[in-house]
Amino acid sequence: MISAGIDVGAVSTKAVILVDGEPRASAQTPTLGPEASAAAAFDTALARAGLRREDVRCVVATGRGRARVSFATRTVTEIAGAAAGAVRIWGPSVRTVLDAGGESCRVIHCTERGRATSFLWNDKCAAGIGRSLETLAGMINVDVTGIGELALRAGESPRLSDFCAVYALSELLDLVRSKVPAEQLVAAYHDAMARRISTLVGRAGVTKSFVIVGGLARNAGIVNRVDALLKVDRLAAKPDWDPVFTVALGAAVFAEGFSR
């Protein structure tokens, strides 16, 4: 059976094709408009899987722009998608999922079957952490993965405000006047954003097993600091799974269920 999940996120749109329960192909594209970006991600993933749209039994859309995908049969929330996707990849021991995306961060508690039971969404002032890291990466001309690696290379780093990403960036720019090297500034920014994320996770509470999914799960600078702050055993990233596709996978898992 072939199903598909499309996660129309605030920053990027992800598609996953599931064939007989196994992820066969995926694709990611910037969200420039929900319908067009969903179609672009879906068609690219299909091409990578060597399939056509008519081969797919059910398409489920999720994410911020999910309501605007005309070719999706059903929609599910990104909360439901994250839980279902995380359990499909990391197994039934998963109870807490941190979904750290471009625009927002969410902590989801779930059952061994991947059903979300509760969640906590970041407040407005903690929005845009992923996007602001992209902005910072653009300012120093490195890519989003590179900036996380850069943060790991710094030893000591100054402390920035973690109340708001706008404040943190302003404080960072002011520190340039004190000639703090760029990698320390980048590390300081990651540290502030990781504190912000860890506060959210702490407030939601962590029940084992714990996993991190979403685009920020690719950022070693953030993940290492969140680990250090939370001191919780986290299930390690899977070498053959890119965590940015987890919510789309969860939607595909729902699609599988709907077409049975």
């Binding site: 929900p34 929005a127 996007r131 706008v166 960036l169 720019l173 340039v176 006047r177």
Partner: protein, 262 residues
């Protein structure tokens, strides 16, 4: 310094570093470089670019005057800064250079926006700068453009064609970006989102402008003033004539160089 001497002005900003080479009351060369958290390197790049644009070499310079937020940290080995000028003074002098009747300059930078009033001799009369929550307007616009798959000039161009009336939050750039994202995810056309993003920036700047009387004529300066759509919306919001220099992003650098000349 004699008037025919060649002086460089460098404006070391949060986001971009601008350089000009001037002599005899004329700008001979312009160049800019992204600051990238490394003001000294960017200043060297911008200065060399401006010298190349003028067809000159650094040995011909009688002096280098720096301004901007990072004006005090430009000491890469090759760069001998001879004087520094505050950003406010540089803006005032640069605005007067572009328009002798100017008495106010609205400087729309990458991270900070400010309003400076001055007299006919370029002496400062009053200054207002944004509060911290309104930092990062330029950075916000770059991010908004990027999130629409556009360059900043494309965003401005597209916004000019929009008749949409979507509004986004005016608390801070973070909420504004969240709201802009929501519009995109609702399938709102890019031109209308672009217009709304500019509208947020304009409302922020206009509210600062209302905090002090603007003495005419009013010059708009800074990188954001390169957007015709933004300047148009600001003109409507303020109801005053805005005088737009040919290259508004260089007003500070020109002001610094002017201060370095007699």
């Amino acid at each position: 310094m004699d008037r025919s001497q060649i002086v460089a002005g460098i404006d070391s900003g949060h986001v971009d570093t601008k350089a000009v080479v001037m002599s005899g009351g004329k700008v001979l060369g312009y160049a800019s470089a992204p600051t990238r958290l490394d003001p000294a390197t960017a200043a060297g790049t911008a200065l060399n670019g401006a010298l190349a644009d003028a067809g000159m070499s650094q040995s011909e310079l009688a002096g280098i005057v720096s301004t901007g937020i990072f004006r005090d940290v430009l000491e890469s080995p090759a760069l001998h800064v001879t004087a520094t000028v505050s950003e406010h003074m540089a803006d005032a002098r640069g605005a007067l250079f572009s328009n002798q009747k100017a008495r106010t300059v609205v400087d729309l930078g990458g991270n900070v926006h400010k309003i400076i009033r001055f007299d006919g001799a370029g002496n400062l009369v009053d200054v207002a700068q944004n509060d911290k929550c309104a930092d990062g307007l330029g950075i916000f616009l770059s991010t908004a453009a990027h999130s629409l798959g556009l360059s900043e000039p494309e965003l401005s161009e597209l916004a000019l064609g929009s008749t949409g009336s979507h509004a986004i939050a005016i608390q801070c750039s973070l909420s504004a970006q969240t709201d802009a994202t929501d519009l995109v995810c609702q399938g709102i056309a890019a031109a209308d989102v672009a217009r709304a993003a500019l509208g947020y920036v304009v409302e922020r700047v206009a509210s600062l402008c209302r905090s002090m009387p603007l003495a005419e004529e009013v010059v708009v300066a800074g990188g954001l003033a390169q957007s015709a759509a933004l300047v148009g919306q600001l003109r409507t919001a303020l109801g005053v004539h805005l005088s737009l220099p040919e290259r508004p992003q260089y007003v500070g650098a020109i002001g610094a160089a002017v201060r370095g000349q007699p």
